[in-house]
Amino acid sequence: MTFARDSYRTVVVGAGIVGLFTAYHLARAGGGPVLVVDRGFLSSGASGRNGGGVRQQWETRGTVRLARESVQAYRRFGLEFGFNIWFRQTGYLFLAENEGELARLRAVHSLVASEGLPSKVLDADGVARLVDGIAPGAAVGGTYLESDGTLYPFPAVWGVYEAIRSLGVDVALGVEALGVEVRDGKVAGLHTSKGTVATPTVVNAAGGWSGDLSRRSGLEVPNVATRHEILATEALKPFLDPMVVRVSDGLYFSQSMRGEVIGGLALPHRPGTSPGAGSSPAFLTAMARALVGLLPRLGPVGVLRAWSGFYDDTPDGFPVIGEDPRLPGFIHGNGFGGHGFMLAPATARRIALAALGQPTDLDPAQFSPKRFLAPSPVAPVERLQLG
């Protein structure tokens, strides 16, 4: 027997930060027994591969609120989970290279400020004060919110993992979910690489693999996995506080607690999870150019390592949260588009509610899986889905 039990009240697919937090809220709400399965080892997916950015500057009220709640959760994390995640609130700085981009950032600023967050609009001098050594003329201005920040992702994963295990949640690593078993039009179990486990509820929190799981379960979904590359430099003494994000090309970078400059850049890649989460010469050269162009003093700094992970993208750039209307018992907690870590604490609570059959406060037009089933499908939207 691979699993500790034959049947579970809920099986969560994905032991990334979203799946783990969901299991945590389920277990705390008495929704057990709960099983979490993951195809890899702990932190082998995007939760162990992201840049650690947590921001509250979003283009919609719904996401601003989820992000603000998540920031509060991460502030408490050390005391609640016993692990130090080094959540450092030294801000997100969005850079605009022209007045058009700045106008767009101003609109975001107005919304964020109207939610009570002290976001600021900066001119070129204000930007230069936050980024020591920025190339002259590299930005006309930007927006900044100091309570945004960065954290160290691994301890967050360990912390929630240990918490759910002490709450009695079973975690099976190295087990791939192959699709759900359907009986009488409802979820009855989950087929895995290690056999089938009976359950009336499956939470799909499989990140880059969530589209595959939905489709293997007979559900057509618009989720697309896209590979995003990232690199880290040699560790330097602290010189940069905020996470810096450039609107035009998606360049983002911050300096970690260890002193490494960690960042990435949006590049077009083939969709899908093949050929794996590797690196390409194209990314290394493009990223180095962008970084050195913006901050020439970094030129002599060595790139220490590069890696990549998968975003789970949706057409409108918002996550998919809630029960699939076509298959009772199949709960979506996916489509985070590279923002799973920053939204996990707040969204996982609502994914857990959905798994328990309870209502959530989420705007269905923005987050429900139903929005992709409407006669007129959701049009792709370009968003500030950066960093």
């Binding site: 050390g78 050594g133 301890p155 430099t233 050929p275 060595g302 890696w307």
Partner: protein
């Protein structure tokens, strides 16, 4: 190559001189191995360990450029060299108190969380401690700027050591003119081939389309010149390197690998030690005795000592300690003595010395193969991974060959092997079904047994498992106790292997350590995906290369 000491530079404000063709490390190692650096977290005194441009032990700041490896930099007249991560100096560093006050290490995973109001204070303090060098200046970047080098060649050979040169010679006789990349600052040339010296290959993804022979190799030439080579076939002859060893004080100044000892022992000058202890009893130890035997006090071997080493030692009156456990290197700023324990009788011995030369274990420099996705196999004899290769050096990737010791071929076979490789390259044949060929000298060693004994030594938890990131053995043990299993997870949990040497000097030890702690064979502990680049490459070098989005492959 080495001439008069006529390059005048300043080191920490004092005038120094280097000869033409001499590295900064060599120039600073006049009478002893210098203390140049403090470890990143606990500020333990650290000396150069590897001598071949990988470890953190000789990082200095040159003309406002941080983290320059002194062993790979030849000073120019007027250079200003300062030290990093130490105040007021590496010899007397106030922050060394951290290591003294908290010898068991600081638990940054669980500690420093309470009281909540102090969190930002802790953070500021810990953040101040992070990193090695101050960031560079823009002027330092401008001084480095150089146009990139791009080559397209039928064959590229990586490594111009004996094996690589043999392959190049064999290719040239077949009318092929390869490009050779060599890390050494002053490599020997081979007629008929283009040699790029002082050039480190850093990234070799597989071809964009499986089976297609179109490799793109990224490299850089010292100090920061971008290099890209396109080639139909790649022959990797990167050889091996001398591994580290776990014992107390294993990164004290004076503890060096045989690579470093040999690189610091130029024919025209005496080595920067007088009475060294050589660790190891086989071929590498013999090489060290051959090069600087007059400055060696004793040979200490984990197992038996080979007859030729015994002879070489006896000729010079060097003491022999076979089957010994190296327990500790003592000396606050500089190794003064080592302590051994006889593995049979348990007798402890102390040997006064001014250097410890690690020549006990040579592991293949196989990092590039991991990037290509070539099939790798665990080699028990050396306790490391190496590519599986056929008799003609072919790996599981079409067009990718391994030559020399990285392929498990011994020096006496280099020439014959080179002919087979050159034939296969010239034929352009698809790979033969690669079979693991036995590594030269793959005698059954007792590595695991040795490490098992080490882990029973009291206080071993305070030993440094990863000198680049300051990870202690106790932290690895704690990860395993908390049920985090496998090297990939333990790496993320402890930080081990994520430093500047890319795991070269901790992973070979860590794999054995984890095998013992987890109670399963080393091969099941797994290996860390060797992410690109295999040597840190300056952003300036990458930025100088034109961007070519589509045509390139992705590492696994």
């Amino acid at each position: 190559m080495v001439g008069e000491p006529d390059r005048q530079f300043s080191f920490r404000g004092r005038p120094r001189a280097a000869r033409d063709g001499e590295t900064l490390l060599s120039a600073l190692s006049t009478d002893r191995i210098p203390l140049l650096h403090r470890s990143i977290q606990y500020h333990r005194p650290q000396g150069p360990l590897c001598g071949i441009g990988h470890c953190t032990g000789c990082l200095v700041r040159v003309n406002d450029r941080p983290n320059v490896r002194a062993c790979r930099y030849e000073p120019a007249s007027g250079d200003s060299v300062t030290t990093e991560n130490a105040w007021p100096s590496p010899t007397w560093d106030l922050l060394g108190a951290i290591g003294l006050l908290m010898p068991g290490g600081v638990d940054t995973l669980h500690g420093l969380r309470r009281p909540a109001f102090a969190t930002s204070l802790y953070q500021r303090f810990v953040r101040r401690l992070a990193g090695t060098g101050e960031p560079p200046t823009e002027a330092a970047f401008r001084a480095l700027s150089a146009p990139s080098v791009e080559r397209s060649s039928e064959v590229v050979v990586i490594g111009a050591g004996e094996a690589g040169r043999a392959v190049v010679t064999a290719l040239v006789t077949r009318g092929i003119r390869p490009v050779i990349l060599e890390r050494d600052l002053h490599p020997l040339t081979v007629p008929g081939a283009e040699l790029l010296g002082a050039t480190s290959a850093v990234f070799l993804p597989p071809p964009a389309e499986a089976g297609e022979r179109r490799f793109t190799l990224l490299a850089f030439r010292e100090p920061a010149q971008g290099v890209r080579v396109d080639a139909g076939s790649v022959v990797v002859a990167t050889g091996g390197y001398d591994a580290s060893l776990l014992f107390a004080g294993n990164d004290r100044p004076g503890v060096i690998t045989a690579d470093a000892a040999l690189s610091l022992t130029a024919p025209s000058r005496s080595p920067p030690f007088r009475r060294a202890v050589v660790v190891g009893g086989s071929r590498r130890a013999a090489e060290v005795l051959g090069a600087c035997g007059d400055s060696v006090e004793a040979v200490v071997a984990p197992g038996e000592i080979r007859p030729d080493v015994v002879r070489a030692a006896s000729d010079r009156g060097i003491l022999l300690y076979p089957r010994s456990l190296l327990l500790r290197a003592d000396g606050r700023k500089q190794v003064r003595s080592v302590q051994l324990r006889d593995r049979n009788g348990g007798t402890k011995t102390r040997i006064m010395c001014d250097a410890v030369i690690l020549a006990h274990r040579r592991v293949p420099h196989a990092q590039l193969f991991f990037q290509t996705g070539a099939k790798m196999a665990w080699r028990a004899g050396v306790g490391a991974y190496a590519p599986t290769v056929g008799p003609d050096g072919a790996t599981s990737i079409a067009g990718l060959f391994a030559a020399g010791s990285v392929a498990g071929v011994g020096p006496s076979e280099f020439a014959v092997h080179a002919e087979l490789i050159a034939d296969a390259v010239a034929r352009g044949s698809s790979p033969s079904q690669p079979a693991t060929s036995p590594l030269a000298e793959e005698a059954p060693t007792e590595l695991i047994g040795y490490y098992r004994e080490l882990l029973r030594v009291p206080g071993h938890g305070r030993w440094v498992a990863c000198p680049c990131v300051d990870v202690l053995v106790s932290e690895v043990e704690r990860a395993v106790r908390s049920d985090y299993r496998g090297i990939e997870v333990v790496k993320r949990y402890s930080g081990l292997g994520s430093g500047i040497c890319q795991g070269r000097y901790c992973l070979p030890d860590a794999l054995l350590l984890l095998s013992i702690l987890e109670g399963r064979p080393p091969a099941e502990v797994g290996y860390i995906t060797q992410r690109p680049p295999v040597v840190p490459i300056p952003l300036a070098a990458l930025a100088s290369l034109p961007i070519r989005p589509a045509a390139e492959g992705v590492s696994p």
